[in-house]
Amino acid sequence: MTPRSRWGTAALGLLVLATAFPFYWAIVSSFTPEARLFQRPSLLPTTLVLDHYRALFTERNFWVPIRNSLIVAGATTAICVSIGGLCAYALARLRFRGKAPLLGLILAVSVFPQISVVSPLYLLLRRLHLINTYPGLILPYLTFAMPLTVWLLVGFFRQLPAELEEAAMVDGASRLRALWEVILPLALPGLAATAILTFVYSWNEFLFALSFTLGPERQTVPVAIALFRGQYQVPWGQILAAAIVATAPVAVLVLAFQRRIVQGLTSGAVKG
């Protein structure tokens, strides 16, 4: 090894350690009895108990926020990928006037701050009696998820060779049939990666879920964890157990699709 590559390896080793430590510590602590959490904590666990996880799913009824999050994030993803997919196809592969401003609009909407639409969305949802309901979360979620989905899918559709639909259309297929029969199967990996990213963003969302729900019956996972309070003190053991439970599905999904996800996330930067 040259000295330079040794420095690089050391930097990356440090990175992996720094990344992993908070997770390691949270996992260890989530199995540690509450009374010992702040008594001379040691890096290596001594007593491990399942109490916090048990309390999470019995006393805390943590299934409810998990169900809420699955429904809201699932529905948001389904709507965005289907409607956004059609839009992205047109933007990526059809010629029409107004395409550039449309792409600009979508990009602009995807970067504008969520807080700037909280007040009208709250008033609107209140008038429609949708506060503290599933549609009352799914609709606001489309504001950030739809532009994200379209933007990612445009990137994926553009990577497919241009001759594909032409060949199909020479064979007499219409443009829509070419989309359905030729492009869609090839775009499936890209669609899957996009769906996962949209799901992850919706699963993690906090501001809207906090603003537009009122009680535990419709709270999503991040809101439920953030508002965990004990009667007398902060129940850290349960909070950490919940944090691990909330993180696990996201971690699994992202690891399973890491190559595609990195490709989707970075394609914008590569094209400059």
């Binding site: 702040f38 449309l102 700037s116 008033l123 739809m146 809101v223 930067a269």
Partner: protein, 302 residues
């Protein structure tokens, strides 16, 4: 060429039909609410005092914001947080991307390791770091005392200055990996033969970095800079969970103050004025960067 023109028109018509549902959604749930926010911001609208109605009061909400010390404080905190975290993240991200760009074993492990903090809920990241710095006998304080770095471990979250340390650390921990991935993608686009040519010319490692890597990486750096700045400027989840804006309002960012004005104080007119201000600043930042980015792009291409 009438047939060709017909085909073109058919293609355009199909395109608009495919675009319509998504476009309608975006107009209805993003642009229309934005206009509504502007409308609310020039009215007095207090949900606690419905008998006042919703009279038009012109720029009064904005004038109130300009005289409001808590608003200026929140704006200051947001700018401080943005400058500090974005600088740290781009610096560290650049170093990590350069390290990752060298071929080595275990690359997949590193990529997985860097993706996970980025993918987890910000709320979770905030809680993990809050727990690490919690109390006088949390793990951070224990390690600091054991290492002999401090004698009297501080209670981080009751101190208006120290409370920022875990907040910034948590943000850097969560987003540096993402910046590194963006920059790595840019690095991998650089033609290896350029380095070879530089080496043949006898350029040192530093000169190679300065005159080959940096200029060619500029577009990727600018993209990362835009996304990180806009993201840091709207920081909410992290601080809501870690400090609640406290102690007092000493870590309250503008998004949290806006949220509190709306949903705690129920002052929808005033909160909407704050929302519009946040939007305008974000918009100005984005425009500024895009001009900068555009210039950067033509420069590297020339």
């Amino acid at each position: 060429m009438r047939a060709g023109e017909g085909a073109e028109r058919r293609e355009a018509r199909l395109a608009w039909r495919l675009v319509a549902p998504a476009l309608a959604t975006i107009l209805l749930i993003a642009l229309f609410p934005l206009l509504w926010t502007v409308w609310e911001s020039v009215h007095l609208h207090d949900l606690r005092m419905p008998w006042l109605g919703r009279p038009f009061i012109g720029a009064a909400n904005y004038l109130e914001a300009f005289r409001d010390a808590r608003f200026w404080g929140a704006l200051g905190h947001t700018l401080l947080f943005t400058v500090v975290t974005v600088t740290l993240e781009l610096g560290l991200g650049c170093v990590l991307a350069l390290a990752m760009n060298r071929a080595f074993r275990g690359r997949a492990v590193v990529r997985a390791a860097v993706l996970i903090p980025w993918a987890i809920p910000t709320v979770v990241a905030a809680l993990l770091w809050r727990f690490i710095f919690e109390g006088q006998t949390g793990i951070a304080n224990t390690l600091l005392v054991d290492a002999g770095l401090v004698r009297d471990p501080p209670v981080w979250f009751i101190h208006s200055g120290l409370a920022w340390v875990p907040v910034v650390l948590a943000d850097v921990w969560k987003t540096t990996p993402f910046v590194a991935l963006l920059l790595l993608a840019g690095l991998q686009n650089i033609d290896a033969s350029l380095y070879e040519a530089a080496r043949i010319d006898g350029a040192s490692a530093w000169r190679q970095f300065r005159y080959v890597t940096l200029p060619l990486l500029k577009p990727a750096i600018l993209v990362a800079l835009i996304f990180r700045t806009l993201d840091a400027f709207r920081v909410f989840d992290l601080i809501y969970v870690m400090t609640g804006g406290g102690p007092g309002t000493s870590t309250e960012p503008i998004a949290l103050y806006t949220f509190n004005s709306l949903l705690q104080n129920l002052r929808f007119g005033y909160g909407s004025a704050l929302s519009v201000i946040v939007f305008l600043i974000t918009f100005a930042l984005a425009l500024g960067y895009i001009r900068f980015l555009g210039a950067g792009l033509t420069e590297t291409r020339a």
